[in-house]
């Protein structure tokens, strides 16, 4: 099985496992079992009728927004654990909303991944993380700002709940309309740009990005094989140059660069590449062109 199909299969299984309460989609009732005390790795709203785990971002904001501030050891522990093991491979393999965007991008439509303000927009997700996820929930008690005003995963959950429950339909208001418009914008952008939410908005991707350089799951470049042809950079739809920066904070580990490399110089995995190639790649990341 090729890499794309394997990744698609893992994404589909991850989506099903994280939303295994299938009956909830019909009844409009969310799951109330003990597994909801465990954080899932990706962006999957805990109010989704299918969700059997807790969204790490929602839990983090809810904890920070509580009346008595206590450091969220448990949730931060989960985030560091997933980050240190997988880095942004979570985005590429396990995140249900990332999978949703990948499916959207498969729809034939006008595509444009490279444009001038792309690099500038990348910084937006760090601002979203700092302000909406951390700062405002701490300072303005009881409001999980990112979940309330931005999170499209929650909007999808809201659509499911509203479709299944007339009581919820009757209380829909301006906030739901705002979130629905935002979701529609992400959907339209998702048809044109590969994973716009992950690239520009997602605070969870911003967190996992910090771990990409040190995570166990990583990419290495074999400098003996790499001829700097640029095929990997052209294939990358997250606009990373894997030959220069194989463990970029933006890399979601989709592996399309590996398939595009005509010299098989890129390797990815928990023990990617030989010791020599790993050392060479790390030296290259530190700024040395040739070792």
């Amino acid at each position: 099985m090729d890499r794309k199909k394997t990744r698609f299969g893992i994404q589909a299984v991850a989506l099903l496992i994280q939303n295994a309460n299938f009956r909830g989609f019909l009844t409009g009732r969310i799951y109330e079992g003990a597994s909801k005390s465990v954080c899932v790795p990706g962006l999957n709203c805990y109010s989704c009728p299918g969700a059997i785990g807790a969204c790490p971002l929602g839990s983090l904001q809810s904890h920070l927004a509580s009346m008595k501030f206590k450091f969220p050891y448990y949730i931060v522990g989960f985030l560091i654990f997933f980050g240190a093991v997988l880095g942004r491979a979570v985005c590429g393999f396990l995140c249900p909303f990332g999978f949703f965007q990948d499916l959207l991008y498969k729809i034939p439509f006008y595509k444009k991944n490279r444009f001038k303000i792309d690099k500038f927009l990348r910084y937006l997700k760090y601002a979203v993380l700092a302000v909406l996820v951390l700062l405002l929930p701490i300072t303005c008690n009881l409001i999980p700002f990112f979940c309330k005003y931005v999170c499209p995963s929650g909007t999808i959950a809201g659509i499911w709940l509203a479709a299944a429950d007339s009581n919820i339909r009757s209380v829909l208001g301006p906030l739901f309309s705002w979130k629905l418009i935002l979701l529609l914008i992400f959907i339209v952008l998702g048809l044109i740009i590969r994973r716009p939410f992950c690239k520009y908005i997602c605070p969870l991707g911003a967190i996992y990005g910090f771990f990409n350089k040190v995570s166990l799951y990583r990419m290495t470049v074999d400098r003996d094989k790499c001829v700097n042809c640029g095929a990997c950079a052209r294939a990358c739809q997250m606009n990373v140059d894997p030959a220069k920066n194989p463990n970029s904070m933006e890399c979601i580990r989709c592996g399309e660069c590996i398939d595009a490399c005509p010299h098989k110089a890129l390797h990815m995995g928990f023990a990617a590449g030989s010791k020599k190639t790993a050392v060479v790649a790390e030296a290259n990341e530190n700024g040395d062109q040739k070792v």
């Binding site: 005390s37 050891y73 448990y74 949730i75 560091i80 409001i143 929650g154 208001g173 979130k179 166990l216």
Partner: protein, 45 residues
């Protein structure tokens, strides 16, 4: 082995944080939030 050291340290720290969280009964607060419909998340206010 050296290249895996930062990840191993982070994983150890993560496990420690999770254990501390469990001792402080933080999973219960996560559960309490997650088993109720989050009105803000689904756009109800």
């Amino acid at each position: 082995m050296k290249r895996y050291l930062p990840a191993v340290i982070l994983i150890t720290a993560a496990v420690l944080l999770i254990v501390i969280g469990i001792i402080l009964q933080q999973p219960e607060s996560v559960l309490n939030k997650a088993v109720r419909i989050c009105m803000e998340c689904v756009g109800l206010g």
